[in-house]
């Protein structure tokens, strides 16, 4: 094929131009550490990267939700622990008070003790964590349990503030379409008709009245009340374990997702540097050859 001078020059310039173009692109990749500068660098990879980033963000949010949930559940567990201790103390006291050998003065003293435990019970029943009541269901602000008091300030009865007890679930999102309830309904702890309070009020009144037989009659209720609390403690423990497993799974997912994302988006630096050096070497060779070729013309040889 006939080769004109222009063809030679054009071909050489073209090669150099293309080499520069490739080197420039590589420089951008290496300095950013990213394989993908714009979607067209790898459209399928971009779609994957977007999906992975999205899942990572959601994962982080669910993790935050779980932390909050766990804190609430732990606060509930701690309170249930105190309630169990309280229940245990009531059992011991009631058993002793029921002993017919107790005199009226001793019984009166038990009565005051029961009263003080009653006030404790009310206070624990209205406990809160982070401004949210533990046992109020979805009625989270105001104290769920209120006391009616007599002229001397003693509790006469305890009722739920808003009529029927609120057994609503406090729901938390912990995964895609995964929701868990983190609260314990008050009725599970204190009884459907607040028997725990009724028992303790009755105990106090009986003790103050010096009626050891009445106290003895209440012992089975005391046991039932205490068992309710310990059962709820077990359930609460299970919830905390479940939350722990969710959190663990999220952590493992996060590690996997991040590894995948990095695989798609991040540049293999050592590989890139090798290719970059190769490209530079080729450019050098190209330029050296250019100078040789351009020197050769017939004009040099004609005198």
């Amino acid at each position: 094929m006939r080769v004109s001078t222009g063809m030679l020059h054009g071909a050489i310039l073209n090669n150099i131009r293309q080499a520069h173009g490739r080197i420039l692109k590589m420089q951008a990749e290496i300095s950013s550490g990213q394989r993908i500068q714009v979607p067209s660098d790898d459209p399928a990879g971009t779609a994957r990267a977007l999906r992975l980033r999205s899942r990572l963000r959601a994962n982080a949010q669910w993790d935050r939700n779980l932390t909050q949930a766990r804190d609430f559940a732990l606060a509930t567990e701690t309170t249930l622990g105190r309630l169990a201790d309280l229940g245990s103390e009531v059992r011991v006291l009631a058993t002793r008070a029921a002993d017919s050998s107790q005199g009226p003065d001793e019984l009166a003293a038990f009565g005051e003790h029961f009263n003080s435990l009653l006030e404790n019970l009310l206070s624990e029943a209205n406990a809160e964590h982070g401004g949210v009541r533990l046992f109020g269901g979805t009625d989270t602000r105001e104290a769920p349990y209120v006391a009616m008091r007599n002229a001397e300030g003693d509790i006469v009865s305890v009722t739920t503030r808003s009529g029927a007890p609120n057994e609503g679930d406090l729901l938390r999102q912990v995964g895609a379409g995964e929701v868990i309830a983190i609260n314990t309904p008050g009725t599970e702890v204190f009884g459907d008709s607040l028997e725990s309070f009724e028992t303790l009020i009755a105990l106090r009144d009986a003790a103050r009245a010096g009626d050891a037989a009445a106290v003895e009659g209440l012992l089975s209720s005391v046991d039932a009340d205490w068992e309710r609390v310990t059962t709820t403690q077990a359930v609460s423990g299970v919830l905390i374990q479940r939350i722990g497993r969710f959190a663990e799974r999220l952590e493992l997912d996060a590690i996997e997702l991040e590894a995948s994302r990095s695989g798609v988006e991040d540049l293999d630096i050592s590989q890139a540097l090798i290719e970059y050096h190769e490209e530079q070497a080729m450019l050098e060779a190209s330029l050296a050859m250019t100078s040789r070729v351009l020197e050769l013309t017939l004009a040099r040889f004609l005198s």
């Binding site: 979607p39 779609a47 977007l50 999906r51 999205s54 999102q173």
Partner: protein, 434 residues
């Protein structure tokens, strides 16, 4: 018998002829670096013989013509490749600009804003009455709506820029068209006498090359040298008329070159992108509002229903307490907040076919595919154009070495002819002295 004077005449004519050849060689060398220049070749031929005394006596050499080395078929191929290249180059350029403005994948893209929006609802569901979380939700929602509006605006302003660019390219085309007409006229005049107007033809071919980048042109040379030029099916130039392109009435006529690409981008590609974005905004607004309205205020969370107008409802911006986190409004209830947070993983976009992030991912990667294809075709087109140009160059390009070799042989021929002249002249003198 033709005598010495006849020989002198042959030598003289040979010397003149070779001077002409040198002139052509000189013209080629002078124009070696002029782009689009077609080399010229002096065509020599033996003169008609003289028939006398029973013999055919040769009459020396004469210049038969100065030929222009050009390959019509290669011209067509180069120009059709250039039309394709012009189109892909413009597409790659514009699409590249759009995909850069998407800023994906990154924290500043729409994808991240969507995720933050869903997360803010999830966060609120854990503590529905918290004022700080409500304020956070409003803020994240505003970031989201702003990114929608910014993208929408980017598409609109891109369309406006394309319009300006289009006007510019059309003007450029019409400019060349006018020059083409003028050169064609000159050419027709010059060639009436029978000689080829080689340099005018070169000028005309250069213009045609430039115009082929702009639009899908086709041309046909008439017998008298005049040119009929079409863009698509429309005649824009012939022997009697010139019809410039009009920016506002191009649709359907121009399908190739940079003008064709600009038209397609402005009329199809960008509007499609805009409506794809609008669909995402509209479905998002509809789904979120539908749930939000079941709350105490019965109000909307978003206002507007397109990417250009989407915003957080004014009542909510003014008072984050107006956000309905639950149907009952009770302190611990969070059913609406939970439901909306769950929308993140539900297929709520495009008739229930995709989640918001699937849809956005598809939109982004679709643009990426289009841009990648345009870039690939541009690169490919450049290579093919260079290759076909090289083939054309092979026919029409000047090789300095070749010209210099020809120059040397022309010089030798001239010297030899001068020698003949000298000898014949001396012989005549001898004759005179007898």
């Amino acid at each position: 018998m033709p005598g010495l004077t006849h020989t002198l005449e042959i030598a003289r004519r040979a010397m003149m002829t070779h001077q002409s050849v040198l002139s052509v060689i000189g013209h080629n060398i002078a124009n070696a670096n002029v782009s689009g220049y077609s080399r010229q070749v002096a065509r020599l031929a033996a003169e008609k013989p003289l028939h006398t005394t029973g013999f055919d006596w040769g009459n020396g050499v004469g210049l038969e013509g100065i030929e222009r080395r050009r390959h019509l078929f290669l011209d067509q191929r180069v120009r059709s490749e250039m039309t394709a290249l012009g189109r892909w180059r413009m597409r790659a350029d514009v699409l590249g600009q759009i995909e850069t403005s998407l800023t994906e994948p990154s924290e500043s893209g729409l994808g991240a804003a969507l995720d933050d929006f869903w997360n803010a609802w999830s966060e609120l569901s854990s503590n529905p009455q918290d004022m700080a979380l409500r304020a956070n939700l409003v803020e994240k929602s505003q970031v989201l709506t702003e990114r929608f509006r910014t993208l929408d605006q980017r598409i609109s302003s891109m369309r406006a820029e394309l319009q300006v660019q289009l006007a510019y390219e059309v003007d450029s085309f019409n400019d060349k068209l006018e020059r083409l007409e003028s050169i064609s006229r000159q050419l027709v005049d010059a060639e009436k006498s029978g000689a080829m107007a080689n340099d005018l033809r070169d000028q005309r071919d250069r213009l045609l090359d430039e115009m082929s980048l702009l639009a899908d042109i086709s041309w046909h040379e008439q017998g008298d040298g005049s040119l009929t030029l079409r863009v698509g099916n429309r005649v824009v130039l012939d022997a009697v008329t010139r019809e410039p392109l009009s920016v506002n009435r191009l649709a359907g006529d121009v399908t190739g070159g940079s003008i064709g690409a600009l038209l397609e981008l402005r009329e199809e590609t960008l509007p499609q992108m805009g409506s794809d974005l609008d669909l995402l905004a509209a479905d998002l607004v509809q789904q979120v509002n539908a749930r939000h309205r079941t709350g105490p205020s019965r109000g909307d969370f978003f206002s507007g229903s397109s990417a250009g107008e989407i915003a957080v409802a004014a009542e909510i911006v003014n008072d984050p307490l107006a956000i309905n986190a639950s149907t009952s409004g009770e302190a611990g209830e969070n059913d609406i907040a939970l439901a909306i947070a769950q929308l993140q993983s539900e297929r709520i976009i495009s008739g229930g076919r995709m989640t918001t992030s699937e849809y956005w991912g598809a939109l982004v990667s679709q643009l990426g595919v289009m841009t990648q294809e345009a870039r690939f075709q541009e690169e490919n087109g450049e290579m093919v154009t260079e290759a076909t140009k090289a083939q054309r160059e092979s026919v029409q390009g000047v090789s300095l070495d070749e010209e210099m070799a020809n120059m040397v042989s022309t010089q030798h021929a001239y010297l030899a002819a001068a020698r003949v002249f000298d000898v014949a002249s001396q012989m005549l003198e001898t004759l005179m002295e007898v």
